[in-house]
Symmetry: D2
């Protein structure tokens, strides 16, 4: 890395890229980047060009001489890269719209990360990430992979378990936001609070002490019930049953609403589904279109305010911080998806968990959390089983394993409708599920068709 | 035991008692009983007298001289007993009707053993079984406790975990029926098949080989899809999704329908709820009334055919076999709830599981099953968490723990309605939930009232 | 098996074969054997012919028509076999003499099963047993392998772990003898006592209850200190420190003397080493020679008394009982080496342990023992680590792993002398350690030579 | 802590105290101490006064106004303390001399931390540390306990397991020295290397990467074999068998010589035993006497060079760093004894381990190490069993448990001599083993007497 760092960003045409650039620019002193390669696919070429030009303008406005390369050739980008970031979305937002609407048509939660939708997102993403890992073994065997393609935890687990690649860190903005909002709730400075997270991506809990070791978890809970709870924008914001939090003495993540308040979250999802603006993915699609309009402006050379409104804010910043921490051995405290190594003793030591960690030259050094209480232990174990089954199905293309994963998923009501939803999702995502070719041919022969009109009308991209 | 065995049966007024008597009579040679004490409570006195007289007639018609004692004094019955069987039902069928109808009113499954209803059955039963254990420590410290009060697995776990009493075996008729029906399906004799069960009560799987070690599990599955599946009468009989069975290569128990076919089971439950005959408990109440009419007949001195129609057939026979096997060190193979000891390595060694075991002088010698596949492991771990939380709530009376147990229960859709159902169940079972006194007073103050008219109209017995 | 059972016995020329024949003859009704193939190697041809002729005479004197085949062609013997028994000794007693004398020369215990010697016995035996398993996969894929080649536990683990063959049962006569002697000590009949064993081969403990479930373990211990302890003939018989047994409330196996009384056992081994009769293997060699003289007698058609004097009595009988129990699904209780499956929860579920099991058509159904107390847990874990390292070294031929195994072995005092002993053992067993070819060449170049004159004088057979 | 920090140091009369003072003085900016209470017992009064005066001089020579209190009243010292450090030695060096000489008399290693001697050190120390914890619960319930009384790991485990006190950190200078020496070996700056330690006190291994994540463990090993290995002064410095290190790809701690080179360490110990200067403790006693002579000098107001020669250098500095890190939430990386919480997944999550951790306001945040290889896992498990048995014996005073601990200890050759050594040690330490009163009375009646003349001649202090 003597002549500066080479970054390759897969899914470079994403609307998040400007946040990523901003993050790199402000950390240039500790992370002297030489060149950034933004990679995308043919279908994303136009967006790549818009956002790539915008990225170059941002660097040009900075004091640093960094070259943005735009390419459709992943190999060229990966060659000798020091860090690879992955933020691609197989099938783009169109695919997510299907993930959300097809279940909702039948009155069920799609939930694009851990629910029925999230499982298909994994089915689409896992084969690609494993291809990337194989490329990395050849082209940049010393590089770190920093993933924020969703479902981030499952994708990271795929990299470790099936890709046999340990130099990977999975990111999520949910814990970032908790650590930004909670000090404010208590009127404390961020550095005055100490966090301990444990769980899985979009399925973790945390405890907080102040810098004197005093547990302030329940003080934060008290404040949360007084007002603002600091959820990411993409989660419907209703209060948890306080009794549960009193019992667990931990703070669940926002996505836990899908498990602790299944009824309310379903109601909300169906409301959105039936509204003119549509499900979350449809709303995001609108926001994205607006963002790209902004990005086209040849005067714009900084990250626009509007990007913050998008659900994933801080994802990219977390990625920049992770990379800088590894590069400069900073020992920054972050919450990341990483090989467990015992940090969550209730799960196998070799699976991926999301935990507090110190990030440095070795990657993530996980903070050992200790055994969780009964309820959280049970939840974690069943969710990890769901993840592992989903990944196994993604890799083997086995329909029965996929059905098993669907059935065990706490967000899916098992039975004939769940199976129907799964079948329609297979049909809907045909292009991106090569491993399930035989299944999809069978379903087509059986005449399975997507029923939701919006989902049906979207072609696969 | 030199002068013959003393049996004490708590809940002696149950309609199952004649089956128990029949089982003891046919095993007299290996289990020389001297006296049987049928214990019941004041509210059950009339039934106790009817069934007790009937029981004495059965023995009088046998070649054996055994005395039936009927008593409301539990201590007298336990004094120097060799075996204690527990088949009591706190709150009788009236309580079960509430357990089923209150959730169904809100469109949710009550399920009297593992669902919302089953959890309240545990709340009612656990304090009583722990009292019995304390009595046994004083009055018959060498006796074995053979439990078939439901939820049988949780009750057995309470005895071991909170009662600190290891000489207990929990029984269930579900595996008994599997081992009776499956050989028939294959046209084999029972002794030609070898079973290996693992899991929890009403939540287990099994594999079968023939006597040459050939795995015939999937042959049985094939036959099950051709026709009769041998379910207990109390489970709605619809086929599992065959894909799941193909994947797991094991046979789930009938109650797994509540998890693998939640949608269909809920539909069926609501149908029954809305029908004139009512939920399962209401139907059983009718059957029981008819049975007691039969038992009143002073000519009847054998178990009537009609008892077989009742869901719990073979429960009592399993109890007799268990007792005879312990007494005569027979090493009979049964499937029982017992301390794990490693037989199911995916659960802690000190919790209670339901597994194949050889029953003899040491009680149950569990057959080590080995690790379960991913899906079953996940299910087991979350269900055991639900059981442990339920028991903790039952013992501590903590409302928040109860809510946590409700929330994690895969059969309960979490959220405001689930909480409402739980609150109504507390009100409905007030008399039998002394540990939750404060909670119930609070809920009464808040004006919580049972909404289902049938449940509301039933007084607590 | 319609036309009777085919048995293949590898190491058929062993002096134990007559016991094996006797065992088969007395079980013919439940195990209708058609033919027995005794296999040996060129070097054992003469013994094979003597013992094979003797075996045929034994069957001819019985009412049954069974043909004994003698062959040096293992494949012919394995073809379509129903059961394969392995009792071979790579390098014969000569090798064992080296295993015992080379360490003793340096004042260390050789101990031919778990000590320095036993590790080399594993190094020699593992490659052969894995060859046999590969042959079985081709020639008799439905057969059961019943191993009593020592070190029996490690050999069985090799079959499961590296051979990927689960239809194997490892045997040992040590637990057999305990269950024969202990009832006598208490003046009880064998069927009146119930055993629960857990541990590893030559490293297990057991508890005993009577048929009413009363723990009589300490009663047996009391009797053991009054007199006869029922050890196998090959273990020096001195009393355990009673305090240890009082603390553990279990009965250790005779070989535990090497761990609980290391000093005394070493003293005894060195005494033997320095005596004219020599170490145990030298004594056994003498006994064997005498046995073969007897076997040559063309009148002898029954197992001679003198065989009982040999240490391994009952080994072969246990093998016959195991085979008959599998064949007839008898559910006999035996103590066997088998895949753990959770029976000993303190060790991984997939390793091999030695435990009480019911033997039937499925092979061994292990009795779940539950967690062991602190001391026994620690011992087991370190010994299993030693076994796994030994096997890894045996398979990979890695010198450093072998040294690691030596170092962790509690019977080996680590340091320069241990390393020297190991090096000499490599030289001494050159012919039988093809996996360690490079190591041995290196050691030869370094001029390592065996120092013990007796060991040096023995050529490899 | 508004008016500055109060430190209480139990065993304040130790010769290490000046190092502790030096450490506090140089960290005053981040740890504003108000007062330090040095506590000792009557027998240590003179030393306390010498070292206390010296300590006050050191502070007086600094720019800070800190008051040293000397007291024999522990309660007064603990009252409202913010940090309690424990560095006491029950029975002083006299006791350690006995721990070393009594085993050596019989040709066995005494080893004062993990061997026979260390176990008796635990027997003496555990009751006192538990008394201190009880005092702390009353007098300073928010304080942190920083222990460096040996055997540091076992003492810390006692505090957590039996004292039920989690705010404790155990320290050792061994890892400190590794992290000081190893960068030098590679010609790197300390901040350029990243360490990952796992194991138990005096029984751990570590891996090292550079700040780019490159594993440099074996580079360090290469350098170690070229020359200086950076051992603590109290360990005989001979090279490990390089083959072992090649296999494990980790660096063992210096004390591992007792396990990997038992023979050589024993030889060395016996050499010292038979030399005029005597065992290590006798040498240390001489050094200490010289140190106290220096301390008496009223001009001396800084830590003298000679203290560095003493084996335990850096112990006290680690304590100061730990305290400052907790107080200022510094997230310093240290290696500490602390509740596992999963960091070493091969040991129970609730036991104490010695691992890399970030020290801050929450105490130690352990770095999850992941599962260890087979050999190290086995060693750890047997050593933790030895520790747990030792602690159980220390608390219960049960002789048989003590013998079990002795027997399982890999450094003790089991048998009659080991038992004799244990018995003599009981006699020798009579005054400090109140929990073993009955045992000692029995042994006295049996006439057990210490045989080593030096040990015999020392009275208990």
């Amino acid at each position: 890395m003597t002549q500066g760092v080479k970054i390759a960003t897969i899914g470079g045409g994403s609307s998040y890229t400007p946040e990523l650039m901003e993050g790199f620019i402000k950390r240039y002193d500790e992370l002297p980047i030489r060149e950034i390669w933004l990679v995308d696919i043919e279908a994303g070429k136009e967006k790549l060009e818009i956002v790539g030009a915008m990225a170059q303008r941002m660097w040009d406005a900075s004091p640093y001489d960094v070259k943005i390369h735009m390419t459709l050739d992943r190999e060229e980008a990966l060659k000798d890269a020091d860090f690879v970031t992955t933020q691609f979305r197989v099938g783009l937002l169109e695919a997510r719209i299907k993930d959300e609407r097809i279940p909702a048509y039948y009155g069920m939660l799609g939930q694009e990360t851990n629910g029925a939708g999230g499982m298909f997102k994994a089915f689409r993403t896992v084969p690609i990430i494993l291809e990337i890992v194989e490329d990395m073994k050849r082209l940049c065997p010393d590089a770190w992979l920093v993933n924020f393609a969703n479902p981030s935890g499952m994708v990271t687990e795929a990299v470790v378990r099936y890709g046999k690649w340990d130099k990977v860190i999975g990111l999520c903005n949910v814990p970032v936001m908790a650590t930004m909002v909670e000090p404010e709730l208590l009127g404390r400075k961020p550095e005055e609070l100490i966090y301990k997270f444990a769980g899985l991506n979009h399925f973790h809990w945390h405890k907080v002490t102040d810098n004197h070791g005093k547990d302030v978890t329940m003080d934060i809970v008290d404040k949360m019930y007084e007002g603002e709870t600091g959820l990411p924008k993409n989660i419907h914001d209703i209060p948890f049953q306080r009794e549960l939090l009193e019992q667990m003495k931990m703070i669940p993540c926002g996505y836990h609403r899908y498990y602790y308040l299944e009824e309310e979250m379903l109601e909300h999802a169906l409301e959105e589904y039936n509204s003119p603006t549509g499900t979350r993915a449809q709303q995001v699609k609108q926001t994205e279109a607006e963002l790209f309009e902004l990005y086209k402006n040849p005067e714009l050379d900084y990250k626009p305010e509007q990007l913050q409104q998008r659900g994933g804010a801080y994802y990219s910043d977390a990625a920049c911080e992770t990379i800088a921490s590894i590069y400069s051995n900073k020992n920054t405290q972050l919450v990341v998806s990483t090989k467990n190594n015992g940090a969550v003793p209730d799960l196998p030591a070799d699976c991926v968990v999301e935990v507090s960690a110190y990030i440095g030259g070795q990657g993530a050094r996980n903070v050992a959390f200790g055994s969780l209480p009964t309820a959280e232990r049970g939840w974690l174990q069943v969710m990890k089983a769901m993840e592992l089954l989903t990944l196994e199905a993604a890799v083997t293309g086995d329909y029965n394993t996929a059905l098993q994963a669907f059935t065990i998923n706490p967000m899916v009501r098992s039975g004939k409708t769940a199976k129907r939803i799964m079948d329609e999702l297979f049909i809907a995502h045909k292009k991106h599920l090569p491993n399930f070719k035989e299944t999809i041919e069978r379903l087509e022969k059986e005449g399975v068709e997507v029923q939701d009109e919006v989902a049906k009308s979207l072609r696969e991209v």
